[in-house]
């Protein structure tokens, strides 16, 4: 038991840090938000350091409920980094509404996501997922005096509870027909021959997880929640939980359902194509930049699923690379959205108001253009690379039609990204006056991620390849 404890340092640090931040908040009141923010940031940095220190360790702890390995480590680093930035950018947005609970909830959500990423038992999977979801429901309606925020929270909660129900139903079927909740045991049972019970369980579990990554047809909540939730929270939803749920989905289908690849491959292909196409078509008519980015995230999840549908180690590697690039791009683009404010400091979210934005804030418009081009996967930018890897994995796994359909649909997707860039660069200036000046931290993050996505990223390809290969190898 003590030996096991030494292997879950990241989780221990997050739990203790979260509780300490909560206690500080209880005694310090809402005045010293900076202190709680600092405590949460230090906690996340310490947890990430613990993950780095243990990278490559492989062990099953606590009677095989939790797996410490490079795959989980990779996902956790991404999750912690995204959570770090989401805590960093919050105070300026919330102003007086900022309270101690925000960093605490993000910390506990990060803990839950870490548990998701290293689950190797259906019960661990569920506990991690619920820990993350409960915190997310509250975060979505964090500005409870705002109607849209409350609506987002309620919608997310009701649909999330429905998805949890489906997931639990699938879990109970898998348990009933395989006699165990462990991934390895389920794989063994599936290897011994599929039956209808296992098949139904598989379908329901994948459906429940597809809700969390907002893959079509389980995406209905995404645009509304992304639009209604406060922008820092939307940034969080679009980055960290996506990584956690995608890592969890990958681990479940490879580790627990590996022998039944033929059964889930067709589901993945359907989810992937539907997400790519609907994500692209649905975004075209959007007038709100946050809704547009929500559809863009649905679209991108579709591309990740193309890699997963391959079901090979190469496919998993491409998913991991895709996740890293996607998180950087998403955080960057939402940070730009966060800076869109009029002279009174009110947020601007409508796309027509962005007309002629490049003449008002050339730097910010250029960064946004980089992020959008990168999301579209236009070649010179780094967003192209993971798309290439994903399609290559699909082609190598004899899924050429899927790859072709995905590439064709990504052209539709490119249309609306470019439409936004056209509005920013070539339309006449709108009436809206933009306030100037962001916070140094936000500007630094935007600049760094835009630079990384434009050229610098290509220099990281060898490192990225080694790390993602190490992480993906542990699943096979």
């Amino acid at each position: 038991m003590t030996a096991d404890l030494a292997l879950i340092w990241p989780e221990l640090i997050l739990t203790i840090g979260g509780l300490v931040t909560l206690l500080l908040g209880t005694f310090g009141g809402d005045r010293q938000v900076g202190l709680y923010q600092l405590a949460a940031l230090v906690t996340l940095a310490a947890a990430a350091a613990a993950v780095v220190a243990m990278f490559g360790t492989q062990a099953s702890v606590f009677s095989n409920t939790l797996e410490v390995d490079a795959f989980g480590g990779f996902a956790k680093l991404l999750i912690y980094a995204a959570s770090f930035i989401c805590i960093l950018i919050a105070p300026r947005f919330f102003k007086d509404a900022m309270r101690a609970e925000y960093p605490v909830l993000i910390l506990f959500a990060a803990l839950g996501m870490g548990i998701m990423a290293s689950a190797r038992d259906l019960m661990t999977l569920y506990v991690g997922l619920e820990l993350n979801s409960l915190a997310a429901y509250v975060l979505a309606s964090f500005m409870r005096s705002d109607d849209r925020s409350s609506e987002a929270g309620l919608k997310y909660f009701v649909l999330g509870a429905l998805a949890s129900g489906m997931l639990l139903y699938g879990i109970s079927l898998l348990y009933g027909f395989s006699g165990t909740t462990q991934f390895a045991g389920i794989a063994q049972a599936m290897g011994g021959g599929m039956n209808n019970g296992l098949l139904f369980g598989l379908v329901f579990v994948i459906a429940g997880l597809a809700f969390k990554i907002s893959a079509v047809p389980f995406h209905m909540w995404t645009p509304d929640v992304y639009e209604g939730a406060p922008t820092p929270v939307t940034t969080f939803f679009a980055s960290a939980p996506k990584v956690a749920a995608m890592a969890l989905m990958t681990r479940v289908v490879i580790e627990a359902m590996g022998p039944a690849t033929a059964a889930w491959q067709q589901i993945m292909i359907f989810l992937a194509l539907a997400s790519i196409i609907l994500g692209a078509v649905g975004a075209i008519g959007q007038k709100n930049i946050k809704r547009l980015l929500a559809y863009s995230s649905i679209n991108n999840v579709g591309f990740m699923l193309v890699g997963l549908a391959a079901g090979t180690q190469q496919g998993v590697e491409s998913v991991l690379t895709y996740l890293l690039v996607y998180v950087v791009t998403t955080i960057g683009s939402f940070l730009v959205v966060l800076q869109l404010r009029d002279t009174d400091g009110n947020p601007i979210e409508s796309i027509p108001a962005l007309a002629g934005f490049s003449q008002r804030r050339p730097g910010l418009a250029a960064a946004m253009a980089v992020f959008l081009f990168s999301l579209a996967g236009i070649p010179p930018l780094f967003g192209f690379w993971p798309k290439y890897l994903v399609f290559q994995a699909a082609v190598d796994a004899n899924l050429l039609p899927l790859a072709i359909a995905g590439i064709v649909a990504s052209v539709i997707g490119a249309f609306y990204y470019i439409a936004v860039i056209k509005t920013m660069y070539f339309d006449d200036k709108s009436e809206v006056e933009f306030g100037t000046g962001g916070v140094v931290v936000e500007d630094a993050v935007i600049t760094a991620s835009a630079l990384w996505l434009s050229v610098v990223g290509y220099f990281f390809i060898p490192v990225l390849a080694v790390v993602s290969a190490t992480a993906a190898a542990v699943l096979f």
Partner: protein, 203 residues
């Protein structure tokens, strides 16, 4: 044999009464069907050799629902004379339910003493030389200790969430200020006066 009969009896009644929970128009009837479902689920547990969980199900769930029902009866203005009026009319139905329950009891005890059913495969095999409570303790606090603690954090997050969403500072309330109370000296609060005879007191 008797285990199989008991299993199918319990399972059928659980499903039927669970369906009736949804279909019953009267919420009080729904509660009654729910209690029946719980009782039969407890019977299933008994068959699987989990006596402790069976008892827990009856005590906690049926107990809680019964208390809830009591509240409903207290809150709603129900005329008991009217309730008793249909006694004779509903006697056959009541007797039927009583007979079913009695038969179930007999079956359950019989099946249980015949040795319970063997499940095809389970993650947590029952070790016969330990009591139920010991086995649950070993699973919950040793084997799945990580999940147990994580579930504790889930509850904590739910609590924080409830506070975030509902707590607000109300203006105009007089909260207790302990340090102010402690700082208060007798000189500030009391005064000694000596009113003359026949004179009033001015405060």
């Amino acid at each position: 044999m008797i285990q199989l009969i008991a299993f199918y009896l319990f399972a059928t009644i659980v499903i039927a009464s669970a369906a009736m929970v949804i279909f019953a128009r009267n919420p009080v009837h729904s509660v009654m069907w729910l209690i029946l479902a719980f009782f039969n689920a407890a019977g299933l547990m008994l068959l699987a050799g989990a006596e402790f969980i069976a008892m827990l199900l009856v005590i906690v769930y049926v107990g809680a629902v019964a208390v809830l029902f009591l509240f409903v009866v207290m809150m709603l203005d129900i005329d008991f004379a009217e309730l008793r009026a249909g006694f004779v009319r509903y006697l056959p139905l009541g007797a039927l339910v009583a007979i079913i329950l009695a038969a179930e009891l007999v079956f359950a005890v019989g099946a249980w003493s015949a040795g319970g059913i063997d499940l095809a495969a389970r993650a947590a095999p029952v070790v016969s030389d330990k009591s139920n409570i010991q086995q649950i303790g070993e699973l919950l606090y040793t084997r799945y200790i990580f999940l147990f603690e994580a579930a504790g954090i889930v509850l904590l997050v739910a609590m924080i969430g409830a506070i975030v969403l509902t707590h607000r500072q109300r203006g105009g309330v007089r909260g207790q200020n302990i340090s102010q109370q402690v700082r208060r000296r007798p000189e500030d609060a009391t005064r000694l006066v000596d009113p003359g005879v026949g004179q009033g007191m001015e405060l």
